[in-house]
Amino acid sequence: MGLGFDIAHMLAGLMVLASFLLLYQDRLPALINVLRLHGFILALAVAWQAYIQSAPHLYIAAVIALAVKALVIPGALDRIVDRLGIHREVETVGGIGPTMLAGMALVALSLRVMLPITAHADPVSRQDIALALSVVLIGLLIMVTRRNAVGQVAGFLSLENGIDLAAAGARGMPLVVELSVAFSVLIAFIVIGIFLFRIRERFDTVDLAALESFRGERQ
C-alpha cells in the first residue's frame, strides 16, 4: 500500500505542478501543450487509482481522460489558435509573478482546509482531495487571470481535471465515468462555442473583450 500511496501522491503532486506551469505560460501554443501534459497526468493518476482501488470502471474514466483531455480538446484548441492566428502572447492580468504567489497561497489554503478535516478518510483519497482542491482553485485563478477565451478554456479544463482527480480519488465513488462523460460534453460545448463564433464570422477574434463590447443596456 505504501508504494501505491506514494505513486498516487506523486501523480497528484505532478498535476498541481502542471497547474503551476499553466499559470506560468504566457503563449497560447505552449499553454495548450502544458494542458496536454495536464490531461496526460490526470489519465495516469486515474489509471493508478483504478489499479490501487481495483476498480475497473476507473480504467474507462482514465481512457476517456486520455482521449478527450489529453488529445482531442488540446488538438481542437490548437486548430483554433491556428485558424485565428493568435499565437501572440496571452494578455495575462497582473503579471506572472503575483499570479504564481497567489497560486501558492491557494495551495496552502486548500491544504489547510482539507488535511485536518479528512483526518479519518483514508490517506489516499485524503491527499488526493487536498491536491485536487488546489488544482481546482488554480484552474479558477487561471480563468480570471486570462483575457483570452482560449486561455480561459485552458483554465476551465484544468479545473475540471482537478475535479476528475477528486472523483477518482474518492474511493468507490459510483458514476465517475458518467460524470466525466458529462463533463467532456460540457468542454466540447465550450470548444464548439468558440468555433461557432469563429465560423459565424461575427467576431474576428474570440477575444472576450471584443465580445463584451455590446450590452443591450448601452444607449
Binding site: 479528512t118 478518510a121 476551465f156 477528486a166 474511493r171 465513488m173 460524470l179 443591450g216
Partner: protein, 477 residues
C-alpha cells in the same frame, strides 16, 4: 411507475419526436400535449407515490416543486404556442430554429423534472447540467450579437458553477464514505440523510461552501448572478418565463436538499447565516440595479434576483414559519413572474421593442395587457390581495422578532426595489401612450390562470395545501 414515466419519459420522447417534425403548428400542439401529460403525471403524485428507488425519490418536499414545475411548464407551452408563431412571422426565427426550439423545450423540461425526482446526488447534478445546457441553447437561439453574448456568459458562468457543485457533491460522498462505505448507496438521499449525524462535519461544511456557490450560481444569487439578467433579456420570452419560474427553483431545490443534510449533522455549521447573508446581498443589490434598467425584460430579471434573495433569506431564517413562507414565496413567485413575462412578451411583440422608453400608457392602449401588468407588479411587490403578500408578511414578521436588524435590512431592500418597480410601472402602464398600438393576437389565458391562482392564494389558502407545505417545511428543519 406510470406517473414517473409521464414526468420523465414523455418529455424525452416528445423531444425526439419534435426534433423530427417540421410544421411548427403541429409541433407546438405536441409540445402542449406533452407538457399537459407531464403535469397530469405529477398531479398523480399527490395521491400515491412510487416507493423511493435507487434512481428516483419522491417525497413531500419535491412534490411541491414537481407539480409547480410541470404546471408552469404546461402554461408556458401554451403561451409559447401563441408567441412563437409571431416570431416566425416577424422573421426573427426560421422554421428550422422552431423545430430546434420545441425539441429543446422538452429536453429542458426533462432535465428539470429529472433533477427534481433524482434520488442520487450525482444523477441530480447531471440533470441540472442538462437543463442548463438546453437553456443555454435556447437563450442563444436568436443568433443576434447580444443573444450569443448572453448565451456565452450564461454558459461560462454556469459551467463554473456546475463544476463547483460537482466538487461539492464529491466532497459529500467523501464525507459519507467512511460511514456508509463504497458504492451507489453513498449518493442516495435517503441513505445520506439517515447517516448524516455520523458524517465528518468539517468536510460537510467545505462541501456546502462549494454547493452553495455552485448551485447558487443557478439560483442567481449575487455575486454569481451576472448571467441571469442577460439570459432573461436576450432569449425568447417563454424561456425567460421558464428560467425565472422553474430553473431557479430547481437549483434552489438542490440547495435545500443539502441544507437538510447539513441540518441533520450536529457538528456542521448552520447553513442559515450563509444563506441569509447571500439572500440579503442579492435583495439589496438587485433592488438598486432595478433603477437604471432600460430593457423591460432585464428589469424583471433583476426583480427575480431580488425575489430569490428573499426566498433564500427565508429558508436561511428557517423555523416552521420561515420555511413555510419560503416555500409559499417561491411558489407564488414562479406563478407571478412567469405571468409577468407572458404579458411582457406580448407587450414587447406589440411594441416591437423591449426598451421601456418606447412603451407607455398601456392601460389606455391595451387595457388587458396594461392591467395584467399592473396586477403582476403589484403582486410581485407583495401587496394584497395577492399571495406574495402572505408570504412576505410571514417572512418579515417572523424574522423581525428574533433578528430585528436583518429583517430591517430586508425591508429596506424591499422598499428600494418597490420604488424602482413602481417608478417604471408609472411610465409603462399609465401616462401618455407611447409606441405601436397594434392588437394582441396571442391568448392571455395563461396570464389569467397564473394571476387567478396567485389571487386565490392571497385570499384563501386551502388547508390541505398548507398542511402539506408545513410538512415540507418541517423536512427543511
Amino acid at each position: 411507475m406510470i406517473p414517473l414515466a409521464a414526468v420523465l419519459a414523455v418529455p424525452l420522447a416528445a423531444a425526439l419526436l419534435l426534433a423530427l417534425i417540421a410544421d411548427y403548428r403541429l409541433s407546438a400542439r405536441i409540445n402542449i400535449a406533452a407538457s399537459l401529460l407531464a403535469f397530469a403525471g405529477s398531479l398523480s403524485f399527490l395521491f400515491h407515490r412510487p416507493a423511493p428507488g435507487a434512481l428516483f425519490l419522491i417525497d413531500d418536499l419535491n412534490v411541491v416543486f414537481i407539480v409547480l414545475n410541470t404546471f408552469v411548464g404546461f402554461t408556458t407551452s401554451l403561451f409559447s404556442a401563441g408567441y412563437i408563431g409571431h416570431e416566425l412571422e416577424s422573421g426573427k426565427l426560421t422554421a428550422g430554429y422552431l423545430r430546434f426550439y420545441h425539441a429543446m423545450f422538452q429536453v429542458m423540461l426533462f432535465g428539470m423534472n429529472l433533477a427534481l425526482v433524482a434520488a442520487n446526488i450525482g444523477l441530480m447534478w447531471v440533470a441540472v447540467e442538462l437543463a442548463t445546457l438546453s437553456t443555454v441553447m435556447m437563450v442563444g437561439i436568436y443568433r443576434t450579437h447580444a443573444a450569443i453574448e448572453a448565451a456565452w456568459k450564461y454558459f461560462i458562468l454556469g459551467s463554473v458553477g456546475i463544476a463547483l457543485a460537482l466538487f461539492g457533491t464529491i466532497l459529500v460522498y467523501l464525507a459519507a464514505h467512511p460511514v456508509i462505505g463504497s458504492g451507489a448507496a453513498g449518493m442516495l438521499w435517503t441513505v445520506l440523510l439517515a447517516h448524516a449525524k455520523d458524517f465528518d462535519p468539517a468536510l460537510l461544511d467545505t462541501a456546502f461552501v462549494f454547493l452553495l456557490l455552485g448551485y447558487g450560481t443557478k439560483v442567481g444569487l449575487v455575486p454569481m448572478h451576472a448571467w441571469l439578467p442577460d439570459a432573461h433579456a436576450e432569449g425568447p420570452t417563454p424561456i425567460s418565463a421558464v428560467l425565472s419560474g422553474l430553473l431557479l427553483n430547481v437549483a434552489l431545490y438542490a440547495l435545500l436538499r443539502f441544507k437538510i443534510l447539513l441540518a441533520a449533522c450536529p457538528g456542521a455549521i448552520a447553513p442559515g447565516p450563509l444563506m441569509i447573508a447571500l439572500g440579503l446581498v442579492s435583495t439589496l443589490l438587485a433592488a438598486l440595479m432595478l433603477y437604471r434598467r432600460r430593457d423591460i425584460k432585464r428589469l424583471f430579471a433583476y426583480s427575480s434576483i431580488e425575489q430569490m434573495g428573499i426566498i433564500v433569506f427565508a429558508f436561511g431564517m428557517a423555523g416552521p414559519l420561515g420555511n413555510l413562507a419560503g416555500l409559499l414565496q417561491m411558489t407564488m413567485h414562479s406563478l407571478t413572474k412567469s405571468a409577468i413575462f407572458f404579458s411582457v412578451g406580448h407587450v414587447a411583440q406589440v411594441k416591437g421593442t423591449q426598451r421601456i422608453a418606447e412603451m407607455g400608457g398601456l392601460t389606455e392602449s391595451h387595457p388587458l395587457l396594461g392591467w395584467t401588468l399592473v396586477a403582476g407588479v403589484v403582486a410581485i411587490a407583495g401587496l394584497p390581495p395577492f399571495g406574495i403578500f402572505t408570504s412576505e408578511f410571514l417572512i418579515v414578521s417572523s424574522s423581525f422578532s428574533h433578528a430585528p436588524l436583518l429583517a430591517a435590512l430586508l425591508v429596506l431592500g424591499l422598499l428600494v426595489a418597490f420604488g424602482a418597480l413602481l417608478l417604471r410601472l408609472g411610465g409603462l402602464a399609465f401616462g401618455p401612450v407611447r409606441g405601436a398600438v397594434g392588437p394582441v393576437r396571442a391568448s392571455s389565458a395563461p396570464i389569467f390562470a397564473h394571476l387567478a391562482l396567485v389571487l386565490l392564494a392571497g385570499l384563501w389558502l386551502p388547508p390541505p395545501l398548507v398542511a402539506w407545505f408545513r410538512h415540507a417545511a418541517s423536512l427543511l428543519g
